[in-house]
């Protein structure tokens, strides 16, 4: 088993250990976070072309794990985000409102399950294996959502399961049609026929549910609103990204010859609609967590808005990098924002935005983390969000796609409107406490703010590492390697 296998196996091992150790299993994150971060960093620095055939079965039967640019960035960002969320959960246990120890105990195995599923999903090119990873991540996501509200989780579960089956039906059609489900093999034999179009349509619809793209986003805000902060952070940062990455595999690797520009513009249009709709909904919220959740709906829109820009570009690598970096920046910034929001809500009088008054004095570090994350989400420089938006906006303008360019610009402004509303509330004096609120001491120790601050800081620092990240994202891009990947047999 090489590094690629370890990235999946190690979290699974930690999951089993966490299950066995029960209460004290939470300390495992102290080992898991650095180990996984190290592995992921190693992955990012591997020479191109590293692959693993699981169990030494050759294609088309075997399962190919492969580290292309998207996988490297997503696995690395995922390791940093999940590790930070885990460490944060140590100092700020996700007890939920009923605060049971049982909730905290179930959190850890779920975290590792999602970690393993997400890594496998980012790395594999096998559409059926992707189904399995999708289920792993969905299962963990539903259970995490259930830590907040069972009803919302059940709603999420039903729609997710239906989506999974639609995806599986698509896989069935592809198996019958091509006798393979490997993306790299499909790319060579893909032809335009009814079965393929149906399969692609079913799978896309299913994945749009998982990625929470408007109008399939219905499950996301209620599931996020009630869940404890670390769970929300995992849902928004990791769970929705897997659906997006699988869609990339389908649309740009397996079937680039079939996905016509009209279909791409449908996805792009949905993305644009998601940006506008999500932003407007976020502006209408008067509670903090639904605001952040609707911001995810809007941010996911950018990822799909990029689809026609990548496909339409003469030199697609910069739009591709913009799309990938947006995913990574959103992971970091949104996880930071949910963690910060969780701390802020614990300190505030209530869960409304108006209740946040005085927090800028009471917990400056946490509010700073929220603010830095907001900067990245708004796409203001210097930040990963800006780098991504810069690349996408350049691509849109170059192609004369002024509608998409307009949405990119307006979306950033709308994000500023709703995010600054929340920030501005933090600067207001504490409601009903008079002008002497400044004398109030900090309500949380600095240590709790470390994880959100670190993640938000990473999102900002990303803005200075653009060139390196663009280079990584260009490793083994679909259009650069038209020939089949000949995997070396793993030792």
């Amino acid at each position: 088993m090489n590094l690629l296998g370890l990235l999946v196996a190690v979290p699974l091992g930690f999951m089993v250990a966490a299950l066995l150790l029960r209460g004290s299993g939470r300390w495992l994150i102290l080992a898991a976070a650095p180990v996984m971060a190290g592995l992921a960093l190693w992955l990012a620095l591997l020479p191109p072309g590293t692959t693993l055939l699981v169990g030494n079965w050759d294609l088309p039967l075997g399962i190919l794990l492969r580290a292309d640019g998207v996988a490297r960035l997503m696995v690395l960002a995922g390791a940093l985000v999940i590790g930070a969320i885990g460490l944060h959960a140590l100092v700020d246990p996700p007890g939920g409102k009923d605060g049971g120890a049982a909730t905290a105990e179930t959190f850890w195995p779920l975290l590792y399950l999602m970690w393993a599923g997400a890594n496998a999903g980012f790395l594999t090119t096998d559409l059926f294996n992707l189904y399995v990873t999708l289920e792993m991540v969905s299962l963990a996501a539903v259970a995490l959502a259930a830590m907040g509200s069972l009803a919302a989780a059940l709603r999420y579960f039903m729609i997710a399961m239906l989506g999974s089956l639609a995806y599986l039906l698509g896989v069935a059609l592809l198996v019958a049609n091509y006798n393979t489900v490997d993306v790299t093999l499909l790319a060579q034999v893909a032809r335009l026929d009814l079965a393929t179009v149906m399969a692609l349509g079913l799978m896309t619809a299913a994945l749009l549910i998982k990625a929470a793209l408007f109008p399939m986003h219905g499950w996301l805000p209620p599931a996020h609103a009630a869940a404890p902060a670390p769970a929300s952070a995992l849902l928004s940062a990791i769970a929705v990204k897997l659906g997006f990455v699988i869609l990339l595999r389908l649309w740009f690797e397996a079937f680039p010859a079939i996905t016509g520009s009209a279909a791409l513009h449908v996805l792009g249009g949905l993305g644009a609609a998601a940006v506008i709709y999500g932003s407007i909904q976020a502006m209408r919220q008067d509670r903090l967590k639904p605001l952040v959740a609707y911001s995810t709906v809007a941010q996911v829109g950018y990822l799909f808005l990029a689809f026609p820009l990548v496909a339409g570009a003469v030199e697609p690598s910069s739009a591709w990098a913009g799309m990938t970096l947006h995913g990574v920046a959103h992971m970091l910034a949104k996880a930071a924002m949910f963690l910060a929001a969780g701390l802020m809500l614990k300190a505030a009088a209530g869960d409304r935005i108006a209740d946040l008054g005085g927090l800028a004095q009471a917990m400056p570090l946490t509010v700073t983390a929220f603010g830095l994350a907001a900067v990245s989400l708004m796409g203001l420089p210097p930040s990963g969000g800006f780098t991504a938006k810069f690349l996408l906006l350049s691509a849109a303008i170059e192609q004369g796609a002024f509608l998409y360019a307009g949405v990119l610009v307006v979306g950033g402004l709308l994000a500023a409107v709703y995010l600054f509303r929340a920030l501005s509330a933090c600067f207001a004096p504490l409601a009903g406490a008079g002008p002497d609120t400044a004398s109030r001491g900090p309500v949380t120790g600095g240590v709790k703010a470390v994880a959100p601050l670190a993640l938000a800081g990473l999102a900002i620092v990303m803005g200075f590492a653009g060139t390196a990240l663009v280079d990584v994202s260009a490793i083994e891009v679909p259009w650069a390697t038209p020939t089949v990947i000949q995997p070396e047999v793993a030792p």
Partner: protein, 110 residues
């Protein structure tokens, strides 16, 4: 072999068509029924349909292709596990005291 299944191609199609019908029925039920338990059952019917299609389409004229069968088995395992998980959640929700924000999904079927 020939005596038992003289026309394997058509047999495969029968499975597939049945599967398609089951999928449609299940999907209809999922949309119409609001109770969580019925929705779970509807999803399972969809699942059965999908597995039938997967298995049926995999039957070639000469031999049975093992790959779809392997996929079906994996799929069934996943579906069973998820159904158990969903059922557990439904039970938990039914047992939980009704708080104002979590009463909607469990409301009785019309």
């Amino acid at each position: 072999m020939e005596l038992l299944a003289p026309e394997p191609v058509s047999a495969g199609h029968i499975y597939a068509v049945t599967g398609a019908i089951l999928t449609a029925l299940g999907f209809y039920a999922f949309i119409v029924r609001r109770h969580a338990l019925r929705q779970l059952l509807a999803v399972n019917v969809v699942g059965a349909g999908v597995f039938l299609i997967l298995g049926g389409l995999g039957r070639g004229p000469d031999a049975i292709d093992p790959m779809p069968q392997a996929l079906v088995i994996t799929g069934i395992v996943v579906a069973v596990a998820l159904t158990a998980f969903g059922a557990a959640m439904i039970v938990r929700l039914a047992e939980a005291p009704r708080s104002p924000d979590q009463g909607k999904a469990g409301k009785p079927d019309a």
